[in-house]
């Protein structure tokens, strides 16, 4: 009798605990702005396609399954990157009722300035995201802040690093670079590793790849410019500071890798192989490949056990050490039909600790909460420790990106790419000439 009574008490206690826990859960992940019985459809659009987007779709399903079972998700994901940025502005300018949209740091200010993205400050105040902003990487919070207001919540951060073919280093009797390697030492390494193995007069193993390519945005070179002590714009983004000797020196260093030492493959030599530089690294034709952290899992799949590889930090310049950092976020368009629901969904997706590790592991990109960074590299991955050090610690610490002002995109295509491509294609090999032209055009565009 006593045992039955004790069992009953235990069951009741467990049920009460469960009820309280679920009540607590309800309190945490809904903000009381939307009725649980709400029915309808929420429209979500993004560029991530099959395989990439799954990490979020699981969280979306959990959120709606638990809190809003009558809401249907209309997912328009997998829109190719280029198409996404032409269709989304057209849709939003046309008043499309899109409730949640993938956002990129390079576009945030443009969308905010045009009134297409919703200011999230009132939401963040009324229903704060747990851990916001202290547990998020500051550079990423800042990247989606326009004129003091938050317009999107970052979901990842993508620092740059060097992917190293250890076998090529070993064969050449060289040590891979480290955090304190200077640009001069790095250049010597790149030259020493470059080789024409079949003696046909053209290189087939390159020391370094993917630092400069045709059509590349300014972010890819900005960390090098900063390392040399240069800058692109003034503090208010109203005038160019490109024609400084430091910026010119940084860009000349890049051009020389292509056209002087030949340690970096040119666009033509890459095109001749029919592949991108990422594939060339995976095929063993490149000793050091510059890429973001999200390339790690793909490299693991592609390289397999063909050769040993790891990741190391990018070199340190005369003005200090910097690396590129970028990232993506979730935003709510101003024309959204269900902005409250979208905010709750974003909050659940990016701050619920129950699934953040899974999200990071499935995407192999870092969710913007520092305590889950390690989940991005599987424990059994041979590069896991190096990944943590290079991307989560050093990468997050030294990350920089250009100031993404509202005219940035226009500037990047009409000024930066059109001028810098002359250097990357070899049409002009003197960085000072290209930079001066870009400097003048930048001032014309910015009104400086």
């Amino acid at each position: 009798m006593i045992r039955k009574f004790a069992l009953l008490i235990t069951v009741l206690a467990l049920l009460s605990f469960g009820f309280l826990a679920s009540a607590q859960d309800m309190m945490d992940w809904t903000c009381g702005m939307v009725d649980g019985d709400t029915a309808g459809a929420i429209t979500i659009t993004g560029w991530e396609g099959p395989g990439e987007v799954d990490k979020f779709l699981l969280a979306f399903d959990e959120f709606f399954g638990e809190y809003y079972p009558n809401v249907e998700q209309i997912l328009n994901t997998g829109v190719a990157w280029g198409d996404y940025w032409t269709t989304l502005p057209a849709q939003l300018a046309g008043g499309a009722e899109i409730d949640m949209a993938w956002m990129h740091d390079t576009r945030n200010d443009t969308f905010a300035a045009n009134g297409w993205a919703l200011n999230l400050d009132s939401y963040l105040e009324a229903c704060p995201i747990p851990g916001w902003p202290e547990m998020f990487v500051a550079s990423q919070v800042d990247a989606f802040n326009f004129e003091g207001s938050q317009y999107a919540i970052p979901y990842d951060l993508a620092p740059g690093g060097l992917y190293i073919n250890l076998d090529l280093f070993e064969a050449a009797g060289l040590e891979p670079p480290g955090e304190h390697t200077t640009f001069e030492e790095f250049t010597e390494l790149a030259i020493a590793l470059t080789e024409d193995t079949d003696g046909d007069g053209s290189n087939d193993i390159w020391g370094i790849s993917n630092l400069a390519s045709v059509g590349r945005g300014a972010g890819g070179a900005y960390w090098i410019i900063k390392s040399f002590g240069g800058e692109l714009f003034n503090e208010t983004n109203t005038a160019s500071e490109m024609n400084s000797p430091e910026t010119i020196a940084a860009l000349q260093w890049l051009a020389d890798l292509l056209w002087d030492s030949g340690a970096h493959p040119t666009a033509d030599s890459v095109a001749a192989t029919g592949f991108t530089t990422e594939f060339l690294f995976a095929n063993g034709n490149v000793a050091m490949h510059y890429a973001l952290n999200d390339a790690a899992s793909r490299m693991w799949e592609l390289v397999g056990d063909s050769f040993n590889w790891t990741v190391v930090p990018t070199p340190t310049g005369p003005a200090g050490r910097y690396n590129f950092i970028g990232g993506s976020a979730f935003s709510i368009p101003t024309s959204a039909a269900h902005p409250d629901l979208s905010y709750e969904l974003i909050r659940f997706t990016l701050a619920n600790p129950d699934h953040l590790c899974r999200t990071a592991a499935m995407g192999a990109a870092l969710v913007s909460q520092s305590e889950f960074h390690d989940c991005a590299a599987p424990d059994d991955a041979p590069y896991a420790d190096a990944y943590h050090e290079v991307f989560s610690v050093i990468g997050a610490r030294d990350g920089v990106h250009p100031a993404y002002h509202p005219k940035y995109l226009e500037w990047e295509t009409s000024v930066w790419i059109s001028n810098m491509d002359l250097l990357w294609t070899g049409e002009e090999r003197d960085a000072a000439v290209v930079v001066q032209r870009a400097h003048d055009q930048t001032n014309e565009l910015l009104g400086g």
Partner: protein, 295 residues
């Protein structure tokens, strides 16, 4: 000897001409074959890659024939997204637009070619001038219109705006002005009104032009991408090119290219059939209008 000589000369000339023609033909065939191979290579490459595994796609140096033949790429690609719905959507849209354009372009062409009313030629020129407006300019106003009609993410949004075609009207008009007026006069004497004349006399005579317009419209509609991408958000109403594009990832290395190639192969089959069936009309359309593709 003299006779021999005189009779030999034309013979030699004839043989020389034949040899020369043979040589020219041979040269033409060789050049055309080389150009044909160059043009068919991307298609052949797509089909070859549709049977490879992902590592086969990335093999360096690239190989044309797959090391491992993966026929299951086709079943995997088919099951990866709503291709059944995609085929149906594309078929409905293509059929509706083709039918609509044939009707409106032939009626308008008849009007501009045969009917006499004040300002006819000016209206025709005005209508033609629409061909100079880039579609990009129309994207947002058209989207606003579709939203006002409640047609976002419905097939109406990719059908109705494309039922009318200045290019098709131009082509039909050009064709109809070549039809002898006597045929219409005879029809009128027999008691036919404008519409009966159009339906019973003009339309049957414009079959080649209609076929040309149908093929051009079908190919353009089947491949249409930008507008459907903007206006068709719901997965179940998407057309085939949108489904195909959704396989891609931001990172090229994560994109299942072998499945995309398989999907692209079965998506292109209807267009290929349409082209093979109506090849002569396709070429005639270019000759008649001087324009490759309308809309």
């Amino acid at each position: 000897m003299r006779l021999m000589a005189t009779s030999d000369k034309p013979k030699r000339t004839l043989i020389g001409q034949k040899q020369s023609k043979l040589l020219t033909d041979l040269l033409v065939y060789v050049v055309l074959s080389v150009v044909g191979v160059i043009f068919i290579m991307p298609f052949a490459w797509m089909v070859a890659n549709s049977f490879k595994d992902i590592r086969g796609i990335y093999t360096y140096p690239p190989t044309f024939i797959p090391d491992v033949w993966r026929f299951e790429n086709y079943t995997e690609a088919w099951s990866m997204t709503h291709f059944d719905a995609g085929f149906l959507n594309s078929a409905i849209v293509a059929a509706a637009v083709v039918f609509g354009q044939l009707l409106t372009a032939s009626l308008a062409g008849y009007s501009f070619a045969r009917l006499r009313y004040p300002g006819r030629d000016k209206i025709f020129l005005l209508y033609l001038s629409l061909m100079m407006v880039p579609f990009t300019v129309l994207l947002i106003p058209l989207y606003v219109q579709m939203r006002a009609f409640g047609w976002i993410s419905t097939l109406q949004a990719v059908i109705v705006p494309f039922l009318f075609t200045p290019w098709g009207t131009f082509m039909m008009r050009q064709f109809m002005v070549t039809i002898p007026r006597e045929l219409e006069d005879a029809a009128r004497i027999d008691g036919c009104g404008f519409f009966r004349t159009y339906w019973l006399i003009i339309l049957p005579l414009t079959k080649p032009a209609l076929a040309t317009l149908a093929i051009f419209t079908f190919v353009n509609t089947w491949n249409s991408f930008q507008w459907p991408l903007i206006v068709l958000g719901k997965p179940k109403v998407k057309t085939l090119p949108l489904l195909l594009a959704s396989f891609q990832n931001q990172s090229g290395m994560r994109t299942p290219w072998h499945l995309i190639m398989a999907a692209a192969t079965f998506v292109v089959i209807p267009v290929l059939i349409a082209f093979i069936v109506g090849q002569k009309y396709y070429v005639r359309g270019i000759v008649t209008s001087g324009i490759k593709g309308g809309a």
